[in-house]
């Protein structure tokens, strides 16, 4: 949900989700929905339609605030009410038990209201935690000396 057009997160995550057998839909300002998206992606132009599709997860995207100047949407206020998780929308999400994700950092009051952050099915903090561990692991493995050490450890483990 949100700026699909400029989001690298969306581009790779959508393909990953598809590979894992999930159905993928997108919703956001039509100015920020890509015309050339993969055919497996279902576009929605209205929040109500996206909700009626009964998703298990809502994955919000960070809004780059300068997009407003480029006329992708008229104002933060309207973005929040039309494309974000307002309090009313969140109440419904909580009732339905839909998981909420976001790659962070979050613009509070734009993509979502604060209350979402404390929701038990909000995975955003877990995403951040996992993101740090994953990045640390990758950096660790990319260092040549560590690579040798790891290889030795693996060999040892196998033998």
């Amino acid at each position: 949900m949100g700026d699909i057009l400029h989001s690298r997160v969306a581009r790779s995550t959508m393909q990953c989700c598809h590979k894992l057998g999930m159905e993928v839909g997108i919703f956001g300002p039509a100015t920020l929905l890509p015309a050339g998206a993969h055919s497996f992606i279902k576009p929605f132009y209205k929040y109500e339609d996206a909700l009626a599709w009964q998703p298990h997860v809502m994955y919000l995207l960070r809004l780059q605030l300068e997009r407003q100047k480029a006329n992708f949407f008229p104002s933060m206020r309207e973005y929040h009410h039309t494309f974000g998780l307002s309090q009313e929308r969140f109440n419904e999400i909580e009732r339905e038990g839909i998981y909420v994700m976001h790659p962070g950092p979050v613009n509070r009051g734009v993509e979502l209201v604060d209350a979402v952050m404390d929701y038990e099915r909000c995975l955003i903090n877990t995403q951040v935690e996992n993101g740090i561990a994953t990045r640390m692991a990758i950096l660790y493995l990319l260092h040549p000396s560590n690579r040798k050490k790891e290889a030795a450890a693996v060999e040892e483990h196998i033998s």
């Binding site: 300002p29 100015t31 132009y45 006329n71 992708f72 309207e78």
Partner: protein, 432 residues
Amino acid sequence: MTRTLFHGGQIVTEENRNPIKRDILVEDGLIIAVEESITSVNADTEKVDCTGRIIVPGLYDVHVHLREPGREDKETIETGAQAALNGGVTGILAMPNTTPPIDNGGMVRYVLNIAREKAAVTVHTTGCITKGRAGHALAEIGDMVAGGAIMITDDGDPVHDPLVLRRAMEYARNFDLILGMHCDIKELFNEGAMNEGAASYRLGLPGIPTASEEICMERDLRLAKLTGARVHIQHVSSAGGVEIIKRFKNEGVQVTAEVTPHHLIFNEDDILDYNTHYKMNPPLRSVEDNEKLLEALNEGVFDCIATDHAPHTSFEKKLDFCSAPFGITGLETALASLYDRFISKDKLRWDTLVRCFSGAPRRLLKLPSVEIKKGNTAEFLMFNPAETTTASKEFFCSKSVNSPFFNKTMQGLVEKVVIGGVVKMDRTKSDA
């Protein structure tokens, strides 16, 4: 429970080429029967004799300037609605080029609140595409839709920057909203006052080429094709414009278009005495354009007849031709003028008029139908083809009289208007 029987009249519909004899029984505002002859009615049923009258479903004008707020000396929502009623127009769509413009949800709500309190007919409003109609930043379109706006347009001006227009067209998809396009190229339009051609040269007035309309229309429709937007081309004035619309319709682009009575009836040669009641934007074109526009209306290229009712004070219209503002009033003369010039001469059929001036405009805006059939609200007018309309100062309900029909007489008269089963306007009574 109140019952009224409208008997002896002929109704016009989209399905029948010619008027057909029908009696209409109305109960508490709703049509409960439409039959060739209804005779068995209760004794307390009120009867309205419609013999010799044509009963037309309430007209809807998708292009009206109500001037409120900002220029209440020219028109108000109340007087504009009164003018509509006077012409048998039971629904109107207000343009947003007021002062300040209708470019946010608050303004939309303000206008609709006044309309609810004071308007004699149904008033809807458009909202601007861009803030302040300035063509730079998108207006809060979602908030205007939430407030009740049913079309967006910067009418009076095109959206100059094609990137802004592209974004607006894309963004409108989120609200399934139609965009009204005023087509001209500012730089080509320049200081023009009338159509560019032999007549403008003869009069020594600066001209506006049809290319100004055509180029902008072409641009707008190519963008509509790119974005999948629904667009409505306002007040088409030229044969070239007709060809462009036809082409894009054939390509499957979601385009509708309107034509005004004045562009069908008048042309540049009518300006020969510098009468500013013939000055409007887009300007009157040539006699060939008149013919082509009428042909296009009859062929179904045009979806709507709209008046572009644009009131201005007499003081302003008395300025010289170049200085006077663009625009004429139209709500009150539209039907009589079309009957006088075309329908009575078999150049336009009633079914086409009903489709383009009542049915299609409401479908375009997703409004309920007022077709004369069982179950619908009773909203229609009685037109007397045997009487005449003289567009005198006394005749007009509008605050302004800037009409090319001013003090002229036309065959045919809107005699009564019924809304919700109630006779809201009755000229036979005021005359008595």
